[in-house]
Amino acid sequence: MGNMEFALNLLLAGVVIVFFVLILLIIIIMIYGKIVQTVQNRSKNKNTEKAVKKAEEPNTFTAVAAPKAAPAADGTVPGEVVAVIAAAVCSLYGDKPVRIKSVKRSRGSGSAWRNAGLFENTKPF
C-alpha cells in the first residue's frame, strides 16, 4: 500500500513538474523570441533607412556610378556589363562609397599560365 501511495504521488508530482518546467520554457522562449525579433526588426529598419538616406545623398554610389557609364559610350564595353561590374565592386566594398573611374577591356587572352591560374581560381564559381 505504501508503494502504491508513493506511485500515485509520483504520478502527480511528475506530471506537474514536467508540465511546469516545459511551460516555463514556452514562456521564456516566446518572450526572448519576441525580444530578438523586435531588436532584429529595428536594426533592419535602421539599415533600410540608412540605405534610403544614402540613395538620396548626392555623393552616393548611384551618383558616383553615373560617370561609369562613360566607358560604355566608347563602344568597347557594353553598358550592361559596366553595370554588372559596378554592382559587383559595390557589393565587395559594402557600405563604403565607391568610385569606378574606368572600365577597360583586357588585351587579348594573355599567356597560357595566366589563363590556367585564372581558371583555377574562378572554377568553383
Partner: protein
C-alpha cells in the same frame, strides 16, 4: 598406450574447460535470441546501429561469460605464489594471524571495463552530446507550444510507474521500466544504470525494440484517437528562426533545467552543449566530431556492453516478460497522451493544430515525426507535417530528460 591415454586426457580437459561443458541451457536460448536480433538488425534494418552491437554483445557474453567478469583479488601464501610461477614482489601483502598473504589480482573481462561507461552513467550523456549536435531546435523555437506535446507524451511514463508498482515491482525497478515510455534509449539506460543496474539488459533491449517498432506501434493508436477530418488538417508554415534565437536556446534551457532539476543536468547539459557546438558555427570541427566519430564510438561501446548485460539467468525470467509488456504499455500510453493533447490543442486553436503531431512527443527522433508525416499524408497527400512534428519530437527529448530527472530525484 600411454600416448593415447595422455591424448585422451588432453582432449577431455579441453572439452571440460570449453564453453560446451560450462554453458547452461539459458545461455543457449540467449544465443538463439541474439541470432534473431541480428537477423532483425541486418535483414529488416530495425535500428541496426544499436540493435547490431546489442545483439552481438548478447551473443559474446553468452558464449563466453568471462568477457564480463569483474576483476578479482585472491589472497595467496608465498608458497602458492611461487607454485603459480608468479613474482611475489609484484603484489601487495596482508598479514593475518602472523601469516603473510599476497594480494594476487586478476583482471576482469574486456566488456567489464567498457561497461564502466554505462555503469558510471558516462555513455548516455555522451550520446546526448552527439544528438544535440545533430538536432535542429528551429521548429521548436518557431512554435514553442510544441513543448506541451513533448510534456504530454511523458505522462505515459508516470502512469506505467503505477502499473509496474501494481505488478509488484519495487519503486527503483518500476521507475526504470516506466522510462521506456519516453522512447529514448540513452535516457532509459541512464536512469536504469542509476536505479536498477541489474535490469539494464531487458530494459535496453525493450526500449530499443519499441523504438525500432515505432512504424508498427504508433499508427493504429493515432488513427484510433483521431477523426479523418483532424488528420487532414494542414498547418500554417512555421516562421523562420534567427541564428541568435538558436544560439540562445541551449543556454537558456540548460540554465533553467539544471537549476530546477539538477538530476537532469548531465543529460540536458550534454544535449545543449552539442547543440551550442552546432548553432554557434565557430566550432564546426568539434561539432562534426560530436555528430560522427564520438557518437559512433560511444554507440559501439554502449551497444555491445548493454547487450552483454543480457545473460541467460538475468534475461530469461518472468520479470523480463513483465518488463517487456509494461514497456509496450508505457510506449503506447505516451503516444496516446501525445495525440490526446494534440486534440486538445486542435480544439483550443480552432483546428489550426493537427493532432497527429502529438504522437511525435515521444522522443524516438526522427522516426516518430516521420510517422506523423506519413499518417497525415495518407489522408491528405499534399499535407506536410514533418517540420511541425519535429517540434514536439525534439521537445520530447527534453521532456524525457526532465521526466528522468523527476524519477531520479524521487526514487534515487
Amino acid at each position: 598406450m600411454d600416448i593415447f591415454n595422455s591424448l585422451w586426457e588432453s582432449i577431455r580437459s579441453i572439452i571440460l574447460e570449453s564453453g560446451l561443458a560450462s554453458l547452461t541451457w539459458e545461455n543457449y536460448v540467449m544465443v538463439c535470441i541474439s541470432f534473431v536480433l541480428l537477423f532483425l538488425a541486418i535483414k529488416k534494418q530495425y535500428e541496426p546501429l544499436l540493435l547490431l552491437p546489442i545483439a552481438f554483445g548478447m551473443l559474446l557474453v553468452n558464449v563466453f561469460p568471462d568477457i564480463m567478469a569483474s576483476p578479482t583479488t585472491e589472497m595467496l601464501t608465498e608458497a602458492q605464489v611461487l607454485q603459480r610461477n608468479l613474482d611475489p614482489s609484484s603484489y601487495t601483502t596482508t598479514a593475518l594471524n602472523g601469516v603473510t598473504y599476497y594480494n594476487v589480482t586478476e583482471n576482469g573481462g574486456l566488456l567489464y571495463y567498457l561497461y564502466q561507461g554505462v555503469h558510471l552513467g558516462i555513455f548516455p550523456p555522451l550520446i546526448f552530446l552527439g544528438i544535440g549536435a545533430m538536432t535542429d531546435f528551429g521548429p521548436l523555437i518557431a512554435n514553442p507550444k510544441s513543448f506541451i506535446l513533448g510534456a504530454a507524451a511523458q505522462v505515459g511514463i508516470f502512469i506505467t510507474f503505477i502499473g509496474a508498482t501494481l505488478l509488484g515491482f519495487a519503486p527503483n525497478e518500476a521507475g526504470s521500466i516506466a522510462i521506456i515510455g519516453g522512447a529514448d534509449g540513452p535516457t532509459a539506460i541512464f536512469v536504469t544504470s542509476l536505479l536498477a543496474p541489474y535490469l539494464l539488459g531487458p530494459i535496453a533491449v525493450a526500449a530499443y525494440s519499441y523504438m525500432a517498432l515505432v512504424p508498427i506501434i504508433q499508427p493504429p493508436i493515432m488513427k484510433l484517437l483521431t477523426t479523418k477530418k483532424e488528420r487532414s488538417i494542414v498547418m500554417k508554415q512555421l516562421r523562420p528562426v534567427s541564428k541568435v534565437e538558436k544560439i540562445l536556446f541551449p543556454i537558456i534551457v540548460v540554465v533553467l533545467i539544471s537549476l530546477l532539476l539538477p538530476d537532469a543536468a548531465p543529460l540536458v547539459g550534454m544535449l545543449m552543449l552539442g547543440n551550442l557546438f552546432r548553432e554557434s558555427g565557430v566550432v564546426s570541427r568539434i561539432s562534426n566530431t560530436a555528430q560522427n566519430e564520438l557518437m559512433n564510438i560511444v554507440t559501439i561501446f554502449l551497444g555491445v556492453t548493454v547487450g552483454a548485460t543480457a545473460t541467460g539467468t538475468v534475461f530469461l525470467s518472468a520479470k523480463t516478460l513483465g518488463i517487456i509488456l509494461l514497456g509496450l504499455i508505457a510506449f503506447c500510453m505516451g503516444t496516446a497522451c501525445g495525440v490526446l493533447f494534440g486534440k486538445i490543442m486542435c480544439a483550443a486553436t480552432h483546428g489550426k493544430v493537427n493532432p497527429l503531431i502529438g504522437s511525435a512527443g515521444v522522443s524516438a527522433v526522427p522516426m516518430a515525426a516521420r510517422i506523423s508525416q506519413k499518417v497525415g499524408q495518407q489522408e491528405n497527400p499534399a499535407n506536410f507535417l514533418l517540420m511541425h512534428a519535429m517540434g514536439p519530437n525534439v521537445a520530447g527529448v527534453i521532456g524525457s530528460a526532465v521526466a528522468a530527472g523527476v524519477l531520479l530525484s524521487q526514487i534515487g
